[in-house]
Symmetry: C2
Subunit: 411 residues, 2 copies
């Protein structure tokens, strides 16, 4: 009978993406299942950042805005990200943080239909999505209401008073995938534009914004794109909505920023959704990560991601049955993003014990252990190691120490 | 008789800050008079960034949020910047862009006195300050009006309907310095909080926010702080105003972001003015620049800056009289920041010709040639070289080529 490990080794040997692992700095012995929180470092990024700092900044100084094309980096990288998510050229821009881009998308959507007064989302959405909505509401002085409803009911709340529906495609806890095309079509029947949070989608699952007739999307650069800690985020605005006005009207969104006029005249295209001066170092790291994942076939990534998760779930069933772990993620691979989550009453302490043994996942309150499955650099044998280690920790009670039971501020 | 050059050499020999120049990457022959647009690269930044990328990100991965203290970087660096501008600990945070921080300060000020409906600034202020005000107005649906008045009249427009006065301390074109304490006191008589844009002040002139009883301030990390292209900016909020609510309520401003609650509960202190995930690479570069300038005595920096400008003006009078240059900056060193500007009808072409001869300043429409005088790394002899080169270009007509006369998009 084939063991789990032998099975995993066979899958690794046949993995068409296996050569990508050597592109990343991952030390021997580490099982990194948190690439959906912070992606690993591509070796190429070290070189690129050193070059950006020493040559472009150090030698080129101010002339590098044109000489090293810093000025076009948000658009150039935006277009590269756009290819990964089925956007058209000129529909995506890389800049600011995900939170800031949510604010831009919300206020832009409101500007398109100023008579509508509701922005809608689901309870349990990623917190910053909800918080940014609440900020819009507070600043509007009550003109705009932020409404949330349970995931299974939120689409029933669509009506002609909704200015924007803000949903995450792959849920950050469960990994559940929403059907982008179907939800968008349903929202459009009420004239509601949808803002898709693609933070756990981009680089993780195939996305086709154009096919879905999507309106707006935002997402994160530091997860599956491997853009580095606090990498610039991105914002997608469908061409037909690019006359919308984001409330964050900074000088880089101006039609002619270097005329230094007193009056804001927004740029015609996606550049109007820029705000302040672009963060050049962060963009350089992001571009390197995007260039790397762009070399992989997205369908192959998806297939491997699903097989990694299937193996994880099968191994958990074989090794950790009756140890109190409850699968939170969908069992159907078609409904699941690129992470698997399990609830466990001692999830926090277990995750600490795993980290102490060099298996890194993360914990999401109140009881969710989350394992990110990044097909670009994970091996099937890593999955087996992770589950075997977790089984050992759970059986031996190694998680039950005062140190591991204390909740840290950041996990 | 002493020549200009001999005079400059004597000043350099006696310069107590002269040892700082070797801390920067500045190639031989370059005269860099644009440090007020993009500061030069400190050698230490190369090392620090390489370490942040390879060790903190590459090896520490997600654990570096705590292990390398990324999570506290905005506050830690904010406090370091705070020392340069006379703020109290816990009043400054390093994050986002200057434009975004202007929006936070404006909306926070409005939240303190929601019955007031005007935000006030001066015509000819730095464009992004005005543009962000216009964005607030547009999004408010007319509830908030953005009013501008000429510099000499703006203080006459203060009244009890003004929610915030947004002014720049050192004007980006002329270098004229506003009296922060006097303006703040006058605004306070109408109950108006002032938002000071310190982009051309921080690291350039002594600032004492506490002595001025300042309310809010924002500023730039990539000019005199040498934080790198597109470096994170900073935001100061006086302790007494920290219950204000910025409209940009992202998860890093939450009281307990890692509880992942649906409801936004702002942090108690300056952290509530964070928004999205901090940009770690940019913050690392910024911190290195801040640490470097913090080693210099601010009074000594100010004295040298004034003497560099005095020399520039004297040399221009000696070499470039009757060549059509008109001093835009105040002649009184006490009223002048750390750059000098001259208007010239052919200013754009002249600046291109200067750059071709390795003297780098910048041009601000319609006709201003701007020369940044960064006392941390400039020598007095550089000033003489710059003026001699400009005199030669103006006299020889070397500026008068089709190539130099074309306005580029970015200058």
């Amino acid at each position: 009978m084939t063991t789990l490990l032998e099975h995993a080794e066979a899958l690794d040997a046949a993995d068409p993406l296996r050569h990508f692992r050597s592109e990343f700095a991952l030390r021997e012995g580490l099982v990194y299942l948190d690439g959906n929180s912070l992606g690993a470092l591509p070796h190429a990024t070290r070189t690129r950042i050193a070059e950006t700092v020493a040559t472009e900044w150090g030698e080129g100084l101010i002339t590098s805005w044109l000489g090293a094309d810093w000025v076009n980096a948000p658009r150039r990288i935006g277009d590269k990200i756009g290819k990964l998510i089925g956007a058209r050229p000129g529909e995506v821009i890389a800049c600011d943080s995900t939170s800031i881009n949510i604010f831009k998308a919300l206020t832009a959507a409101i500007s398109l239909q100023p008579d509508r007064s509701v922005i809608l989302s689901e309870t349990g959405n990623f917190p910053t999505d909800l918080y940014m909505m609440q900020g819009v509401t507070a600043f509007s002085g009550g003109r705009i209401q932020a409404v949330t409803a349970a995931a299974e009911e939120v689409l029933d709340r669509l009506d002609t008073n909704v200015a924007a529906l803000l949903l995450t495609q792959v849920h950050y806890k469960s990994g559940l995938v929403r059907d982008m095309a179907a939800v968008t079509a349903r929202a459009h029947r009420h004239g509601v534009p949808v803002i898709w949070d693609l933070s756990h989608s981009v680089g993780a699952i195939p996305v086709d914004l154009t096919a879905a007739n999507a309106d707006f999307a935002i997402g994160c650069g530091y997860k599956f794109l491997n853009g580095g800690p606090g990498a610039p985020a991105f914002l997608h605005v469908a061409g037909r909505h690019q006359k919308a006005v984001p409330a964050l009207s900074g000088w880089f969104g101006h039609n002619r920023p270097f005329d230094f006029d007193d009056d804001y005249v927004p740029a015609d295209g996606i550049e109007r959704f820029l705000c302040g001066t672009p963060q050049v170092l962060g963009l350089a790291a992001l571009e390197t990560g995007v260039d790397l994942i762009a070399r992989a076939d997205m369908q192959a990534l998806r297939r491997k991601s699903q097989k990694l998760a299937d193996l994880f779930i099968a191994a958990m069933a074989e090794r950790c049955a009756d140890l109190g772990f409850a699968l939170v993620s969908p069992r159907d691979p078609g409904l699941r993003g690129s992470h698997v989550s399990y609830a466990h009453p001692q999830g926090y302490a277990m995750m600490q014990a795993l980290k102490a043994r060099d298996v890194i996942g993360d914990f999401r309150a109140p009881d969710v252990m989350r394992f990110g499955l990044t097909p670009l650099y994970l091996r099937y044998v890593d999955i087996v190691t992770a589950v075997e280690t977790l089984a050992d920790i759970a059986r031996s009670g190694a998680w039950d120490t005062p140190e591991y039971r204390v909740r840290a501020a950041v996990t």
